[in-house]
């Protein structure tokens, strides 16, 4: 389950479905047990879910989807769906839910918790509701459509409501915190302190950081949990990362990543590099794979970018896409790893190299087969020019290979 920046609940961290059921008015249990009942009923009836289209899209390109990974946590696999479903430890709960039109008396044990838009970065694919810095910039550029809704996580009574719910949840398993930038978001520290005060040291704590910040106070809290999943956001180890994750500095990002990795090793944390490949960064995606391999950390690239559409890899002309796919395939071939059955548990450290090549292969497939969207190039150019008018930089300094494409679209 997910709580968004505004405090609305959503049934899945990957689902593309907005609700207006908010923690101001409802407890997480109410949403999970009652409001989600029709969703569960549809699933039990075998209905394809429109909200799950991003996961279906990933699976089409042989990329491990969020729904595959969440199903696996209950022992269910798509390859052996019927037998693994019937064998799931959750079978009695599924069965009971089937008999009550999707209702359940369980409570959510696996969460994504969005903490608002406090952020010191303004990544070009981000949105004002996730970045306060981008919101300010959009306001200056007069393209802010609506002010981001104030986050629930600024209200102490709502934090207390969520923490109370978490603390009273039997078998609470996993909490993943997202900003903004988590480390500069006051609610992150407050919630960690409250969880520790309640003795919840065994719950898996996940969080994602943009590698621009180090906060020893938060580090000291994190090290008190038994299992921490550290997500480190970076697009590539190439200067274009500074353009895309503006205004970062790739040298400093790399040093901070290595500092986190050293800490994570000391405490046996599970560590991943998190990327959101776009048309601008896809040529350098293998630099992230190389860094991950060299440092023995995993990769979790996000869904194929849905919004903004003009930053999708599919806006690139086909000849560019095929050339990049060939280069990436050559990188995969150099790894010398035989392809096997799809690895769904991508958080298996023993399968790190297989997981990385599998991820790369999904991008090769996407580059070769996703529908052409070059008609969006003028939108991309218009957007970049607008941001550059505020930032005083130029994409051509970072990505000269795209000059012809961008010029032909109005750059």
């Amino acid at each position: 389950m997910k709580i968004t920046h505004s405090g609305n609940f959503e049934f899945c961290r990957w689902a593309d479905q907005r609700t207006n059921i908010n923690i101001r008015d409802h407890t997480p249990q109410e949403f999970f047990q009652t409001h989600m009942a029709p969703i569960r009923a549809d699933m039990l009836q075998g209905q394809p879910m429109s909200a799950c289209h991003e996961c279906y899209d990933m699976e089409q390109h042989h990329k491990v989807s969020g729904r595959q990974r969440q199903l696996l946590k209950t022992g269910v696999t798509l390859d052996s769906f019927e037998k693994s479903l019937r064998s799931s430890p959750y079978w009695p709960a599924f069965d009971a839910s089937n008999a009550t039109a999707g209702a359940t008396d369980l409570t959510p044990v696996d969460w994504q918790i969005d903490l608002g838009n406090h952020c010191n970065s303004a990544c070009i694919y981000c949105a004002p509701e996730s970045s306060s810095r981008l919101a300010q910039e959009f306001k200056k550029l007069k393209i802010l459509k609506t002010e981001p809704v104030p986050t629930w996580a600024n209200r102490p009574e709502l934090i207390d409501r969520l923490v109370h719910s978490l603390v009273s949840t039997p078998r609470l398993a996993y909490l993943h915190f997202l900003g903004g930038e988590t480390l500069i978001t006051p609610a992150f520290k407050i919630i960690l302190e409250k969880l520790l005060a309640a003795g919840l040291t065994k719950v898996n704590i996940g969080f994602t950081t943009n590698l621009t910040v180090w906060d020893q106070g938060i580090v000291d809290l994190l090290t008190q949990f038994e299992n921490v999943h550290l997500g480190m956001s970076v697009e590539c180890f190439h200067p274009i990362n500074d353009y895309v994750r503006w205004p970062s500095d790739i040298g400093q990002i790399k040093r901070t990543a290595e500092q986190w990795i050293m800490l994570g090793r000391q405490h046996r944390w599970y560590m991943t590099l998190r990327t959101t490949p776009t048309a601008l960064t896809i040529p350098y995606l293998t630099t992230v794979y190389d860094f991950a391999k060299a440092h023995d950390v995993s990769i979790e690239s996000s869904n194929f970018l849905h919004d903004p559409k003009f930053l999708r890899m599919s806006v690139l002309p086909m000849q560019y896409r095929h050339r990049m796919a060939d280069q990436m395939q050559a990188w995969i071939d150099r790894q010398g790893i035989e392809s096997t059955d799809q690895l769904v548990n991508i958080r298996n450290p023993a399968q790190l190299h297989l997981q990385i090549t599998q991820d790369a292969a999904s991008y090769v497939d996407y580059l070769r087969t996703a529908p052409d969207e070059t008609h969006l190039l003028p939108e991309l150019v218009a957007y970049l020019k607008l941001l550059e008018s505020s930032r005083g930089n130029s994409i051509l300094r970072y990505q000269p290979d795209y000059e012809h494409i961008l010029r032909s679209a109005g750059y």
Binding site: T74, K83, S84, Y90, R171, A173, A350
Partner: protein, 142 residues
């Protein structure tokens, strides 16, 4: 399967392939059912269906061997699969081998008199989740 209610109780498909070296005297059991007992002279393939949720054990016993005159007597468990998932030889380390030479090294080559077994102590797909290192498995247990 179109809806949850369509789901039928389904069996597991077990396939065991055993290769003799010499003419070993063997007893092969699946749970407590003896599925082979006698001298094996050629490749043996056994297929069985097992209840989906029931724990089970596969046991291969080498019943006798004259270590002086028949040093080459043995049996090789070439392959054990469930629903096409290879358990042996891939996960030899999950088997046990009690024998008259106190050689407990995990193996699928049985050259000593004794009992080799692989026990699946919970519903197979839950066992497989753990054996295949598939990460956390949420449960309803308190």
């Amino acid at each position: 399967m179109n809806t949850f209610s369509d789901l039928q109780a389904i069996d597991l498909d077990l396939a065991l392939r055993v290769q003799p070296i010499g003419n070993p005297l063997l007893k092969i059991s699946i749970n407590h059912d003896v599925v082979y007992h006698g001298r094996l002279t050629h490749l043996l393939e056994i297929r069985r269906q097992l209840p989906l949720l029931q724990p089970f054990a596969v046991t291969v016993e080498l019943l006798d061997k004259d270590y002086h005159s028949n040093q080459e007597t043995a049996v090789v468990i070439e392959q054990l699969t469930i629903d096409g998932f290879e358990l042996i030889p891939r996960w030899n380390h999950l088997s046990t081998y009690d024998n008259d030479h106190q050689c407990s090294q995990p193996t699928h080559y049985l050259g000593f008199v004794g009992t080799w077994s692989l026990r699946v102590d919970r519903p197979f797909y839950q066992w497989h989740h753990q054996a295949a290192n598939q990460g956390m498995l949420l449960t309803l247990d308190q």
